[in-house]
């Protein structure tokens, strides 16, 4: 995040304008149509050299459970293929690493399609990708960029909360209190949910 990157609006606009091919179903085993490893290889090529095959292995999976993550990789491939990044001299291996890290961080907690349709998620995707590449949005100080990332990213926020004084300890005590047999025994509420 130490380097100033492109304007956030540029990346958000680019996400909104994602072509249908980059929103299509990723190939996972017998399902899906887009070979995400091939797209990732093309993206790496745009940044200089052909990617070694071993670096493309995480971009393919026979497991249907990888669908959300690979859908997000595909979307991030489109965003990172912007001219601004291509002219920034980023190493292809670094681009591939950032794509994977971004998708791995964001995919467990939201439907990948929401990073295209939901304004907050679009911002989360743009900021996370920038952070993974070592940039912050143009015109923002480091502190502003960090604050904003915490506000839009659940993962960042969880990390930030637990880093504050006493919060991790209090959270541990709450989890213990909830797990006690006495808490489990509950109390009368007279209807169910």
């Amino acid at each position: 995040m130490n380097k100033e990157g492109p304007p956030l609006e540029l990346l958000i606009r680019r996400t909104i304008d994602t072509p249908p091919d980059f929103l299509a179903e990723p190939k996972c085993g017998a399902r899906g149509v887009v070979h995400v490893d091939a797209i990732a290889a093309d993206v790496a090529g745009m940044f200089g050299t052909r990617a070694p095959v071993r670096e493309l292995v995480p971009f393919a999976s026979p497991d249907a459970g990888a669908r959300n993550r690979l859908t997000l990789v595909l979307l991030a491939c489109w965003v990172v293929a912007d001219d601004w990044f291509r002219n920034a001299g980023i190493a292809p291996t670094e681009v591939l690493r950032a794509l994977l890290a971004t998708a791995t961080e964001l995919s467990p907690h939201a439907d990948a399609k929401s990073f295209h349709t939901d304004p907050d998620r679009r911002e989360e995707l743009a900021r996370t990708l920038l952070t993974q590449l070592g940039y912050r949005p143009a015109g923002e100080s480091l502190a502003q960029a960090q604050d904003r990332l915490v506000s839009v990213s659940a993962a960042e926020r969880q990390r930030a909360v637990k880093a504050t004084r006493g919060a991790a300890e209090r959270a541990r005590k709450i989890r213990e209190a909830l797990a006690r047999k006495a808490a489990e025994e509950s109390a009368d509420k007279m209807w169910r949910e």
Partner: protein, 448 residues
């Protein structure tokens, strides 16, 4: 601290008459085998607080103008940003609710402890366990005062249908009915109703010395209200219960019009269909004459949001999103429920229209009997599952998909087999749902 509760902890204000009621409920010749112990845990101070809340709630005005938030919301946002770690880390307090990023069940499932305000004492914390519709198992932090406050919404909902609770000393107020292979059951008293009796029962035959005792016991208790869900009420219809309560209150799953009509005809009383969830408590009660569900909580602000998180216009369907609530252990700030409806402002109070909630799901066991989705929740409750779904096709074959850190296939198979029998066509797959929405329970065989 000693983890075991005593009766003095369970019933801190129990009088001699209350003790007599407990004895009547527990030692009746037709009583079931009560599997558990629990109580109201209310102190004298708690009682004052709960009674005041009930008095306020039953007659409070609920409403706001479309596009505007009630005045209390601004202060509520500030309190969350001061006292709740999850929000405090964001710094500056937003003045408008629309500037608050919505939270989801997935946020709570990550670590619900981060949503508990700093001022909540932990020594009386209780939990309610829920799996919801998205398959994220979750422990909801709560408190005896919160649990007792549910009565306020019972009363408000019943009043709408012309029913005033009158049960008190020497009579039974509420029988909460389940129909599950395993069910938490016990007897208690309701101190906010002058120690009227309360029982949580399982209508499943295994919980009774004689299956015929189910009807005998209910007829003997004469509860003023039967509370339950569509599955337990369907089971109730099969029993020769002659007692006519003042009302039936159905929660937890969608009550179909057919079942509602059958229950009304049989028990000759109003049958209330309440929309409720563990995270918030009771939200609304269906009122066909109003064309939808009437809200029940005067400190719960309801918004309808579209997929992009923008406010829907009145009458437009979107996701029900909640702010406020009465559970002071888990204040909700723009909490996306995963349920969908529209808000109509045509009448004196906002009405939720076109609500689509959870339909009851039953799975067919190998021996032809039925197993409820609640039983599946119960059987799997001790397994560290992040998310799961169970589907049964028309042939009876079952597919169980789960997301967990460890491989749990064997433990899951063992538990499902104990529920449905030695099913040969059970497929268990460990996967990563990775944020995708799941239909947690589905069965092509669920009877209508």
């Amino acid at each position: 601290m000693n983890n075991e509760l005593t009766d003095a902890d369970r019933y801190p204000t129990l009088s001699e008459r209350g003790r007599h009621m407990l004895g009547f409920l527990q030692q009746h010749s037709h009583a079931p085998v009560f599997r558990n112990h629990a109580g109201n845990r209310l102190t004298s101070d708690d009682l004052i607080r709960v009674n005041a809340f009930i008095a306020e709630t039953v007659s409070a005005k609920i409403g706001w103008h479309p596009g505007k938030q009630p005045p209390w919301v601004t202060e509520f946002i500030a309190r969350c940003y001061t006292d709740v770690p999850w929000y405090r880390v964001l710094g500056a307090v937003p003045q408008k609710l629309e500037d608050v990023r919505p939270t989801t069940r997935a946020d709570l499932a990550r670590d619900v402890a981060l949503f508990v305000p700093d001022n909540v004492a932990l020594d009386r914390l209780i939990n309610f366990r829920t799996s919801g519709t998205t398959g994220h198992p979750l422990l909801i932090p709560s408190h005896p005062v919160v649990a007792a406050s549910y009565l306020a919404f019972h009363k408000r909902a019943l009043r709408r249908f012309g029913v005033e609770l009158r049960a008190g000393r020497g009579s039974v107020g509420v029988a909460l009915l389940g129909y599950q292979r395993q069910c938490f059951t016990y007897a208690s008293v309701i101190p906010t109703m002058d120690e009227a009796g309360y029982v949580k029962l399982n209508l499943y035959p295994d919980d009774w010395r004689d299956a015929d005792d189910r009807a005998r016991y209910l007829n003997a208790l004469k509860p003023e209200i039967f509370s339950g869900d569509p599955l337990s009420f369907a089971a109730l219809l099969e029993l020769p219960v002659t007692w006519k309560p003042q009302a039936l209150v159905s929660t937890s799953m969608t009550l179909t019009p057919v079942l509602r009509a059958r229950l009304e005809a049989r028990f000759e009383c109003p049958v209330l269909d309440v929309y409720s969830m563990s995270e918030s408590g009771p939200i609304a009660v269906a009122d066909p004459s109003a064309g939808g569900h009437m809200l029940l909580q005067h400190t719960l602000f309801v918004e309808i949001l579209d997929e992009a998180g923008k406010l829907c216009a009145p009458g437009v369907r979107g996701e029900i999103t909640l702010t406020g609530g009465f559970n002071f252990c888990l204040p909700l700030l723009r909490y996306r429920t995963g349920d969908y409806a529209a808000l109509d402002f045509g009448g004196p109070e906002p009405v939720l229209t076109g609500l689509s909630g959870r339909l009851p799901v039953r799975f067919r066991a190998v021996d032809g009997t039925w197993v409820n989705s609640i039983d599946v929740n119960h059987a799997l409750r001790d397994l560290p599952l992040r998310q799961f779904q169970l589907h049964q096709d028309a042939s009876g074959a079952m597919q169980f998909d789960y997301d967990a850190e460890d491989v749990l296939d064997e433990a899951i198979a063992q538990r499902l087999h104990s529920l449905v029998g030695p099913l040969s066509s059970l497929t268990i797959t460990r996967t990563r749902f990775e944020g995708t929405k799941v239909v947690q329970y589905a069965s092509a065989l669920t009877p209508s």
